[in-house]
Symmetry: C2
Subunit: 312 residues, 2 copies
């Protein structure tokens, strides 16, 4: 029997469960649309049942040694505590680690989803072989994570890496967190859709909601407004990259997440902007790469986290 870790990546829309071997291979995965119940007790039941059901389909050859749950939002992994989770509001303030651990009779760790993805990319993806890496995950929101010398930098309260809520434009557009000018309010899928709607008034979406994916597709087909909106988001991302470089100076900065994967139209202006901002003599040392593991990053990183924290 080989040790494996069960990793649950809880997004606002989709959830993913993966059984990951101790050396970082995803052995089995499942994905479903989230519909979490409203109160704490039934939320514990909901998550517990999902996990038990998934495990019952797993061969006896690899019973998981631990569960890792990745959430959007600040999480204090040592205590198993979720400060707040914008996508699943009812998680806020819950000490979910110990509670689920009791129900499942095995260790349950909680972590920030972007931190898990950062660990995954560092271990088996775009950061492999480097001494330090910072990951930006750009999707509905913007997250981040710093890994150095094999360890996640969590900070004193576990919230380090929250690059999406660093402010790059005082008095900039409103963010979901209540502040103004956060990177998330300028670069996320949500921000790109909002900016595109502004330059195309009159409901050009013909009743179909516009998504960031559609805006990228239009840009690739030559839509000038879509290109301009994405280029502006790219410049803001470039500021975020340069800020991370000046503050943390990681060996490589990796861009992942759904929007990050959308590609060159966003990344090219971002890298150009970042290079322009970084101290002249250090421009050539700035390394920006695309993430390699796609949606598996957080699952694989979760397994890495568990194996480090539990000494597996």
């Amino acid at each position: 029997m080989n040790a494996a870790i069960l990793c649950l990546d809880l997004g606002g829309t989709n959830a993913r469960l993966g059984l990951v071997s101790i050396d970082g291979r995803v052995l089995q995965r499942r994905r479903w649309k989230m519909s979490p119940p409203g109160n704490a007790d039934s939320l514990y039941d909901y998550l517990g049942n999902r996990i038990v059901r998934f495990m019952s389909g797993v061969g006896t050859g690899s019973r998981p040694a631990a569960v890792v749950i990745g959430f959007a939002g600040p999480t204090w992994s040592a205590g198993g505590y979720v400060y707040c989770s914008p996508n699943i509001g009812q998680l806020a303030g819950l000490n979910i680690g110990p509670e689920l651990s009791q129900r499942l009779s095995m260790p349950v760790l909680v972590a920030n989803d972007a931190n898990c993805a950062a660990l995954g990319e560092y271990w088996r993806g775009a950061g492999a072989g480097t001494g330090s890496m910072f990951l930006f995950t750009i999707g509905t929101g913007v997250g981040g994570g710093l890994v150095a010398d094999g360890e996640l930098w969590e900070g004193s309260a576990g919230i380090a890496g929250e690059v999406g809520h660093t402010v790059v434009a005082i008095d900039g557009p409103m963010c979901t967190c209540g502040s103004r000018g956060c990177l998330e309010a300028l670069v996320s899928a949500t921000a790109i859709v909002r900016a595109y709607r502004k330059v195309l008034p009159g409901g050009l979406d013909h009743g179909v909601p516009i998504t960031a994916k559609m805006i990228f597709a239009r840009a690739r087909h030559g839509d000038a407004a879509a290109r301009a909106v994405i280029a502006r988001a790219g410049k803001a991302l470039g500021v975020g990259i340069a800020n991370v470089y000046h503050l943390l100076n990681p060996e490589v900065i990796v861009i992942g997440g759904g929007v990050g994967r959308a590609g060159r139209l966003l990344i090219a202006p971002a890298v150009e902007m970042a290079r322009g901002l970084v101290f002249g003599p250090l421009r050539d040392r700035l390394r920006v790469s695309r993430a390699k593991l796609g949606d598996d990053a957080a699952l694989i990183g979760g397994a890495y986290l568990a194996s480090r924290k539990l000494g597996l």
Copy 2:
């Protein structure tokens, strides 16, 4: 004979030399106005002679075991290399560590001045007893440094902590580094003077150049324009504090440097702004303190750096 470290803190206007005991006491200090010569060779002579002259006045009881030189600007301490130094331009690209080491026949380390100050405050000042600390030094420019678990976080090329050149206002005012909207362009003494001049056109300085110190004095005596300018700088500093908190989440954030010492008029709006930006459930955990060591911080931190790097 007790081991001691000779620390040289090279500012653009003033230079300070200090002999610091291995346990962090400044045994002797000297300060002078900088007038560095223009070419590399005579610059080595100038610095070498200053150091030799200072040492000749030191009792034989404590001959220094090493020299540490702190510069403004990005520095790669492992190689003794200075990428660029805004205050002493002729230092850029010099491999000053090995060169001076040969002339003085002892180890010479180079470091960023704010990093030295951060180590000093962590060791013997406002960060003592904490697990992680970020220092903002606010003077002519804005610098910073991160110390965690007793180690300076230098990053892959030695420039980590350069918070002064993180951008908080895309399209903001021009910075000395060539970018726009850097924290330094909004919070430094230079920025405060520039902003005050703008709201008081017509040369209210009566031929005497206005300094940040004078603006703080006027604010304390009720000058509304001075108060408004300082409050605006404080808000920008608050953004910087919140950004550092979200990205690095240190146990304490310390504010030092000449402008930082000027006090409450700047710090109060900064802390208020930062608390407003930090994730709600974590607001109470944000700790901002004033630096304690004044100008000695970089000297004391230099000694700490040398004792760690050289195993003294």
